[in-house]
Symmetry: D2
Subunit: 363 residues, 4 copies
């Protein structure tokens, strides 16, 4: 039966989103003859008067190598807690009934929600209100459960590893300590894996609160062995042992470490007191979210898009597409959003880092 | 107990080999205090009078981002069938006893053999003669069983996908059919996955003998829909239905397709007869083997190196390190070399390609 | 006064064409309020019934980083010798009157012709028939007189140098002689400059017919000094001393070297007879024309586009925009197309290559 | 006559330094048979007891594609004002006599000083004290007079342009204002040229003190035209009209803008007050100095190295090698260091930016 399916991309930008959109559009139209309606700006688009726009071959032509998302995205727009301006103050209201009504009126048979933790939880709530939903996992941090990896993560690693290669030559030429701060508020995957790939000497991640002494000694030991420079990769959510973890904050709160200008600057300041070396900090920031997706992310994104359409065809609503080994599978969204996938401090990846001589913030 | 372990890299060049070597050296020395002996030029090095050279931190410094192998490699040098010049003709002799004797004399407690199908089979034979061996899989083509992927493959995909991006702009500007021939004598993985990532319109692989009519129609159908160009990715081992498969050849044999200048040129010639379009062929060739390894291959190679040392420590000889999902595991080498891992014509990856509107040589 | 100007891109694809188009469109509209008419497929578009299409901001949005040309291009379509099918055979006719008439009818006040040698000569002829023309030089080979460089050349160098980096690691690992054939039918600039940047050992260019003995000795001398590999860069138009130069050919002619599969294959075969080494050939081909333009080519293309509009504003018709040092200047097209800018065998660049120990085909 | 020449690399890290060193070593040894002595860590190395080390072919093998400098560098070490620890405080002393004496004792016939403004001035002073010196210009900022460009600049532009490409996709997907801070304390070349190449909407440089109103209006005008995002490139030395210019500071001084966290953060804060848009800042920092040099910088660096040796051979001491158009020339160092080469606010490059619709901080 011919269907009309909707698609939206929510949360932060992530390389490979366009591959997913293209995969959904192509596999929906070819063979199936379905119609695809693209909602703009994440869940926000479900509330717009205008739109959605029907996506055809022309709309997805040439978008595979392009970063970003042709549909736009938004970090706001949770219909269950939607910011509405009332008498000059922002009030958060449940507008989900309006959303569900609109989806029905538009004749949307199923909705593909591409997003991370937050977006998938919203999708799940919509599902409970009767909207047939399938999920496509998206997180640059790779901290989503139930999938080996998500698209975007590999591209972010490429950007971080490339940056480490660049910092290496300068560190070596100037005998400097270079600190690079990467994304990862809760999970240290980007720091850990790019650090291994980029030949880092120290990697600090949220899952292993670090001891400054240990870091200091590691750098000093390198200097004694004749390596006059060191490279540190620090996840933005890393924090010193005994210090306070960065927690989910409301808009007007800042944590102690953020007041200091980020964890990279914090580590730099602390190291200055125990090392007589030139120390520099680079914050990679938004560069990690952008750019043309890597071959891995283009292929994975495309396969996820195709898989989402197949889920709809088989009526597997409430499921999220995922990667297991080399195979595309699916799991209940519920299982995927229960908790974050964190680095296991005693697991294989951390052990490998240690075996490679990398200090992970502890002896 | 302190050990002296040997390492060699055999077969074709592959990005990530240096990451493996570095991983072995670092994890053997740090914590364990073992000594690592590097044999040059693959199995050839086991027969050299000179060497092996002891590998220390200085030898592996800065090699992580570098392509190739600091140990050199060789496609020859099978000690069970070694080419010896006798009265002007080459005779293949079994020199494995000499090799086994030398390994013992050098006090090598275990040998890490990094290589593909061929090299791992040789390693297995040495194992049977009493040499404690562990294997690290290496194949740019990703056609080795029992591991999700091998290092080098991702870098090759990046190179192929990047080349497809380049060909796209020219194809589009000139309304041309561009054929790109990639590696893959038996397995079409590179063609298939780079083709999906690079937005190819046709992908021809050895596992699915192609029908020229089908390919021709696919390109023509695109033209009718207004797409005045097409991109074909062809694995070097692809062949027309009913045609003869490229088979393992001795040095002085050439197949029919090779006599025609490769499958890319063959397809070009055949398409010329049924299409009135400008057709150009690019053979990617050795570019796929070189270059700085991608972040994926650097991390995987490093973990494989660490894993190989752990196998030795646990006495798991005859085993090969491998990747399953995100985890490093091991399997008997015997299982891995029994047959090649080919693309399943009815499997997920081919189906995804078709769903994306890609012609795979058949309707 | 408000104007309506036309633009076309002729000849081979070249990274930076879109930057030129964008530069013309933006500078024509902003401040001046002119209208820009884009002709498709080079000079062919002047004869189409449909088009030209009016180019606005939306048409040039996001095209700066993209290779190719949004207008399409063509190597055919010379209106002074236009291929017309008459009773099954192709006859070349002068249709320039029709072209001139059409340009007038469309109310085109001036035409920006972006192209190489051939396209600029056509532009000059149209100029003589009364069409106000300005030229923007375009040649990937950098063989156009009167401009220091053209856009596209730097990107082609990046592609060739990157390929040499890749071949290096394989050459070194396998102790091979790697031959890379690059573009340059008449001028050896790409071979020479990418060879210097890529650390080549031998560079063969059309301007210096090579002696095989010299090349052979150079590779042998390297081997004697312990360098077991060598890298050769060969321009497609290179030829052996005493051999015949590749000359401009009609469609049905092939030169001796082409019959042998190109100069790379030729050199490979010849070297095989004097060297006992493994030799491999890579033909870079179309990869050199594609891809996202480098920063140099994007900036130069943009400035050329702006400069072309300024030429029109000042009424400097028959002039071509060019780069001298860091400055944009202009010269009569006539001066630029008189002859090709070839490498001076006794000039600075060749001398530098020799001083760096590079063999250029002669002792 | 056989010579022994010295070489040092001073000042900040810069891609292409290794190409220069390799060029000097190769051209000095090949044909001339000279000896090359490499001093480590810039002018500091002239005062070390150890070294210099003799540089041969093996030392420069494989360094062409590598960033940094194999000789190390230093921003300190001015022998005319050398920091010496006296009773716990740092005193700056003239130790140039010791340096001159050491150079003579080592039998150095000529010194190649590779460096920027500061290093070349020191070289000139040494020249006046009798040391035969030739200069090779090096500045990532391209602010050195008397040479069209210097090596390193093009690589920095590539890094900055690539970063802008990455920010573009995120800016567009999230409807954000993205500010990227690049190097350029006095000269805005990197900001200006990467901004043109990267499709920036606003470029702020030290040579044109900006008006916030103008910037604000430009972004707002874009939004009104439907472009819901904007990209700003800001040179680190940019400052608001009427604000105070960043001036050369002693170690313990900070300017007002630096206290605010840099000019990028400053602009972000100011724009927040006049725009209701999401604004993000990225500081590119040290990434601009590192990485494998681009083809342009490798070729230029190599030619500069060769040229420096030729200057020595011809006895042209006190001269600096430079690029004019496509030719290598030389000028008295004195002329080159008199003042910095700044962007001309009324010059071609700024005018081109404006014609492309870029706001440069003024209407």
């Amino acid at each position: 039966m011919k269907k009309r399916i909707g698609i939206l991309t929510g949360g932060g930008d992530c390389p490979g989103l366009n591959a997913v959109i293209r995969g959904v559009v192509k596999s929906a139209i070819i063979g199936r003859g379905w119609e695809v309606a693209g909602f703009e700006d994440g869940f926000d688009g479900l509330l717009y008067d205008r739109g959605p726009r029907t996506l055809g071959f022309d709309d997805v032509r040439g978008i595979l190598p392009r970063g970003g998302t042709i549909l736009g995205t938004s970090n706001r727009g949770n219909p269950f807690s939607y910011p509405v301006e009332v008498n000059g103050t922002t009030v958060f209201t449940d507008v989900s009934d309006r959303v569900v009504k609109r989806i029905r009126e538009l004749g949307i048979d199923a909705l593909v929600a591409v997003g991370g933790d937050g977006s998938l939880k919203i999708a799940l709530e919509l599902m409970k209100k009767g909207v047939p939903v399938v999920g496509v996992p998206k997180t640059i941090d790779n901290d989503l459960m139930e999938t080996d990896v998500t698209f975007g993560y590999n591209t972010a690693l490429e950007t971080a590893t490339d940056a480490l290669d660049k910092l290496h030559s300068t560190a070596e030429s100037h005998h400097r300590v270079m600190i690079m701060e990467v994304m990862g508020r809760y999970a240290g995957w980007i720091a850990l894996e790019s650090g291994i790939s980029g030949g880092a000497d120290v990697i600090l991640i949220p899952e292993i609160p670090f001891e400054l002494n240990s870091v200091c000694n590691a750098i000093d030991a390198r200097r004694c062995r004749g390596s006059k420079f060191s490279i540190l990769v620090v996840a933005e959510g890393a924090y010193p042992r005994g210090g306070s973890r960065v927690v989910q904050k409301k808009a007007d709160e800042t944590t102690a470490i953020e007041r200091l200008g980020g964890i990279g600057a914090f580590v730099s300041r602390e190291l200055t007191s125990c090392l007589d070396m030139d120390i520099r900090v680079t914050v990679l920031g938004h560069l990690q979210r952008g750019g043309s997706p890597s071959t891995f992310d283009r292929c994975l994104g495309s396969r996820f898009g195709v898989g989402a359409v197949e889920l709809i065809e088989r009526g597997q609503f409430g499921e999220m597409i995922c990667l297991k080994g080399r195979a595309i599978r699916s799991v209940p969204i519920e299982k995927a959003v229960r908790k974050l996938k964190l680095v296991n401090p005693g697991g294989q990846m951390v052990t490998a880092a240690k075996e490679l001589g990398i200090n992970v913030g502890r002896d």
